[in-house]
């Protein structure tokens, strides 16, 4: 019963997702430059409270253990607490990502009263200047105010969620120290060229040297730092990082967006990776189990141009979303490939004409003023 066997089994798909992300709304008070869902404005087709509860009922029947709620800013929804309490009451744990803007003293007390609720507060710089350059003016202070309110409400441990960028890789130790000082757990995830990140990625993604730095730092910190298993492309550098070494899209992971569309993963909100809608006949269950797209993703994937590289078993060719939105073939190396042969692939990506790169859809960014 080797790890490889398990990975092979997981690639064939599961009865229900292990890790399901549910973006509750595209509405957001911030406009982070790398937002994977291009959030800003609410979509008028957003699921109603009743429709969202029907989704919860279905996930409960499927025995989905927990959902990762995000957005946009999920607390923007007026029925946020109603939906969270309904999910937890249905036996579904909730982990939710927030920028903290709506965690005032009263909201913190209400959050602290809930069992099976985990909070991930997003922070992309260890100081206001680094963070606010990506997440917007004042967003660092907003997170710290939310943390104070959670502490006053005795919420307990939370997660500090950091997206690794060119400007914060040098701060990894500071993030860890900050998390430790706050009694939080650090979560470090990979920047994807998704949503508004399709444009921001080119100047924000870590350099080749920084990729190695992230890898070594994660190896040294082991299970103490959560990653959502998002750095498996770095396994080509040697000893594998903790976690599942595979792309989970449509296999163990998927995304439900605010209007009920089901995508293969949170990083591929694009028509090519839309498997269906929770309001279709048969609901989410049928989309998960029978959609053509997900069935295709569960077939053995060709290593393509990576077939001749000795590192393929280690890195699995990297992240599908990263390849797709940088205009690279899906059966070839990741734009941040760290194996010797294509180490500078990211630089080559910059030469792919913009017209050849898929544009993320839909875009809920604020209208340009």
């Amino acid at each position: 019963m080797s790890g490889e066997t398990l990975t092979t089994q997981l690639k064939g798909g599961l009865a229900a997702p292990i890790c399901l992300t549910w973006e509750l709304t595209y509405a957001c008070n911030l406009q982070c430059v790398h937002c994977l869902s291009s959030s800003g404005r609410r979509d008028p087709r957003e699921l109603s409270t009743a429709a969202a509860k029907r989704v919860v009922d279905e996930l409960s029947a499927l025995r989905v253990f927990y959902v990762n709620i995000g957005g946009g800013e999920p607390m923007y929804r007026r029925d946020f607490f109603e939906l969270v309490e309904y999910a937890i009451g249905s036996g579904i744990g909730v982990k939710f990502s927030t920028n903290g803007a709506f965690i005032d003293a009263a909201a913190a007390r209400r959050l602290a009263a809930l069992d099976y609720l985990d909070i991930q507060l997003s922070l992309d710089g260890a100081d206001p200047a680094t963070n606010d350059a990506v997440r917007g003016e004042g967003s660092y202070d907003t997170v710290m105010r939310a943390i104070d309110n959670l502490a006053a409400a005795d919420f307990g441990p939370f997660k500090l969620s950091v997206v690794a960028t060119r400007h914060n890789v040098a701060q990894l130790d500071r993030f860890k120290a900050l998390a430790d000082a706050l009694g939080a757990q650090l979560r470090l995830t990979r920047l994807r060229p998704s949503g508004r990140g399709a444009d921001a990625w080119h100047h924000l993604h870590p350099t080749g040297a920084q990729q190695r730095q992230i890898y070594e730092w994660l190896l040294a910190n082991g299970d103490n730092v959560l990653t959502g298993d998002s750095f498996f492309h770095l396994n080509a550098l040697g000893e594998p990082l903790p976690g599942l070494n595979m792309c989970g899209a449509g296999r163990v992971v998927c995304l439900i967006d605010p209007i009920g569309d089901v995508y293969a993963c949170p990083f591929v909100i694009h028509g090519d990776f839309r498997a269906g809608n929770v309001r279709d006949d048969g609901g989410f269950t049928r989309v998960w189990r029978e959609s053509e797209l997900f069935s295709d993703l569960r077939q053995p994937q060709s290593p393509g141009a990576c077939a001749s590289c000795g590192a393929f078993d280690a890195c699995q060719g990297g992240c599908m979303a990263a390849k797709f939105f940088t205009g690279l073939p899906l059966d070839g190396p990741d734009p941040e490939c760290v194996s010797g042969e294509s180490y500078d692939l990211a630089a080559q990506v910059a030469t792919v004409p913009l017209t050849l790169k898929p544009r993320p859809t839909p875009d809920h960014s604020y209208a340009v003023r």
Binding site: Q9, A15, F65, G91
Partner: protein, 97 residues
């Protein structure tokens, strides 16, 4: 994340009465089952259908050995089951009762 890592096997587990931890939910899957502990948020892969059957049988038997017998697990496989349950015990997926 998996039952592969974890503590060395505990001696004598076969003779003890164990049960599924009340905060754990188990879901059948093509490879066996997934177990999730709502308290410590651990996700564990039960990578054999027989392992799932034994987990379900635990409640009705006074010892792990009795549950293995009831599930017709060949005695030659008992040591690997004892090791697997020691791991599940360490991860609080099952507990002694």
């Amino acid at each position: 994340m998996s039952t592969d890592q974890a503590a060395p096997p505990r001696r004598g587990l076969l003779g003890r009465a164990i049960e599924l931890h009340p905060q754990v939910s188990v879901r059948p899957e093509p490879f066996g089952a997934l177990a999730y502990h709502y308290g410590n948020r651990r996700l564990v892969f039960l990578r054999h259908h027989d392992l799932l059957a034994v987990v379900h049988a635990l409640a009705e038997h006074d010892s792990l050995a009795a549950a293995l017998t009831a599930c017709e697990v060949a005695p030659s496989r008992w040591p690997s089951f004892e090791k697997a349950f020691a791991d599940l015990l360490a991860g609080e997926i099952v507990r002694e009762r």
